[in-house]
Symmetry: C2
Amino acid sequence: MTQQTLQVALGDRSYPIHIGSGLLQRADLILPHLGRKKAVIVSNETVAPLYLEPLAALLRANGVAVSQVVLPDGEEFKDWPTLNRIFDALLESRAERSTTLIALGGGVIGDTTGFAAACYQRGMPFIQVPTTLLSQVDSSVGGKTAINHPLGKNMIGAFYQPKLVLADIDTLDTLPERELKAGLAEVIKYGLIRDPQFLGWIESSLPGLLARDKVLLAEAVYRSCAHKAEVVARDERETGERALLNLGHTFGHAIETGLGYGVWLHGEAVAAGTVMAAELSARLGWIGPAEVARVESVFRLAGLPVSGPDLGVEHYLELMRHDKKVEAGKLRLVLFRGIGDAVVSDAASDEQIAAAIAARVSAA
Amino acid sequence: MTQQTLQVALGDRSYPIHIGSGLLQRADLILPHLGRKKAVIVSNETVAPLYLEPLAALLRANGVAVSQVVLPDGEEFKDWPTLNRIFDALLESRAERSTTLIALGGGVIGDTTGFAAACYQRGMPFIQVPTTLLSQVDSSVGGKTAINHPLGKNMIGAFYQPKLVLADIDTLDTLPERELKAGLAEVIKYGLIRDPQFLGWIESSLPGLLARDKVLLAEAVYRSCAHKAEVVARDERETGERALLNLGHTFGHAIETGLGYGVWLHGEAVAAGTVMAAELSARLGWIGPAEVARVESVFRLAGLPVSGPDLGVEHYLELMRHDKKVEAGKLRLVLFRGIGDAVVSDAASDEQIAAAIAARVSAA
Ligand SMILES: NC(=O)c1ccc[n+]([C@@H]2O[C@H](COP(=O)([O-])OP(=O)(O)OC[C@H]3O[C@@H](n4cnc5c(N)ncnc54)[C@H](O)[C@@H]3O)[C@@H](O)[C@H]2O)c1
Ligand SMILES: NC(=O)c1ccc[n+]([C@@H]2O[C@H](COP(=O)([O-])OP(=O)(O)OC[C@H]3O[C@@H](n4cnc5c(N)ncnc54)[C@H](O)[C@@H]3O)[C@@H](O)[C@H]2O)c1
């Protein structure tokens, strides 16, 4: 299979996304972005044993001085003490402002490492090597980096773009089934927000995607990244259109926070949250029951939850108000005007939101 | 006295600097920058009792919802746990992405608060209200924000511009004498780097500046900020010319770190460090003894130290190598080609640097 390349067009902060098989062996793709031939690879205890050593060896064979930081695995380590381990390692190894940080792992490693790169000496170059489907189609592209705060997810972070994204489809071979499905939630998201034709392709390709057909996976990653790159190029700092990518996320964050980080996967929460958004849109009269059923059905086909845990409706609303999308106290949500046509809106009243949630929760 | 205004020209991140007396009573200057009429003032235990309540009352009287965070006072609190107190307060008060953070204090408060603003929800608006001479002439302008790491000063930070800088000269009335002098080091710096005519003005105005003549102080702040604004507009991220503003800082950081943060003031360390830089420039044959003597004399006139503590030359070099200005292992220093003509150079060997330090230390 050949590699495909996209460009995120952000002026002097533009960068390529390479997608394909065998990319972790492709020194030619990585070396041009390692100005000073000094790199620090950040990974976690799950991913490092699988992919770190070959990558480090490849770089060393090409004259790059490589050191590494292996963090514990889990969303609960997307926090300040763990971030600080990266800073400690950088300072202990006397990393310079021109050293490149390489994030090798899923979204947790990518978000944490990207934020470390944004802050170390006020900014050092970094490269994303995403190894989960979710990080390949979403979190590694666009420069959102963050860690969690005990009072809110992704509350402390930066907009900071990588120099390169290297999405090697081969790494998905080892991804647990549940993580694969969670990643599909974000693929489906692009179809639901802005590309009904892509949604149709996903619906018919889901059996093959779940069977990890590489041609289909590469196509799904490519088309997802193309959407993300286009949106990010037009609205890097999420002052407008980019907010649409948060479809299902305000409901989803409430689920993730309400249950405690990591009980539900991000993609699982987004799936159930998106069904809630569809339900609410129908209650506003913006879409019909057939559209809601289609949203529900595509997530079900992907093996994802289509209702949320019963946290109590008031608790949902409370948690949602803590989310970043709250402006001037009013809940702004991504809702459906149609399939493939999402909008940001504060049209729904608290009562309507509560009713939509109540209709889409089930006992845990 | 009338207020003077400068503009930092950075495209859509441009902002005004207002300089003058009575500015903390000028709601008309602040309100246009408080989009959402929600603000959180960050100050410390020394400055808050002096200036916080009147400012908060002024804003409240104009319909702004104000809350406050009062941090402990000191460079040793420019650290993560203290930064986190700002995040806790923001999250507990449910501050939104559009809430404005106001830094009321010296450089420590400004740097910490600015970094908090850069990171909270990936960036919220902030205003600098600098209350020390150093912060009025230097740290509040230009968007460098940071906290310290146990292994290095200002190692964790961001480039993040404020929306407004409000330098009220009246606040200098209560500033301790030693802090006033330390601030003068940075004023002198602009003359030494790029404005021999300004240096002459400073030399003749120093008695009046030390006596806190407000017309002279306002003039010193204005001309310093004009220099800083010009340099920052041309080189926001310090890829070139802006590095000149670090005159004396690499030596100075070694002094500050070597003695432990806060034993010497930043400006004191910069003064001694600048004399070392002049000494080294003379040893390279770039300036003569008369120029070195003039550098020494202006700092002496300002009541600042003109030699460093005797930390051991090797320890100096070690500490300097940890500084951010190290690129590819080689020490890059700001040196003199003449008075008012500084350059960044790695021309000096370790031996020459060591000799210059040895010539300019004295027992503590
Ligand atoms: N920055 C953004 O724009 C953005 C967008 C969406 C989500 N996110 C963030 O991404 C995070 C979720 O990312 P994620 O879903 O990748 O989770 P993750 O990083 O926790 O990875 C999921 C699990 O898979 C393991 N893993 C990773 N790659 C593997 C591989 N190739 N083989 C076997 N196991 C592997 C990980 O160690 C982990 O246990 C959340 O913190 C979320 O907030 C960020
Ligand atoms: N961001 C930048 O570009 C930049 C540039 C230079 C220095 N800095 C940083 O600035 C810091 C030093 O700033 P600083 O010299 O203002 O020190 P500071 O903030 O510690 O203030 C000095 C002392 O004066 C007190 N104080 C402040 N205003 C007062 C007032 N009006 N009346 C009475 N007391 C007052 C403070 O509480 C403190 O005790 C260092 O951390 C340094 O790294 C940053």
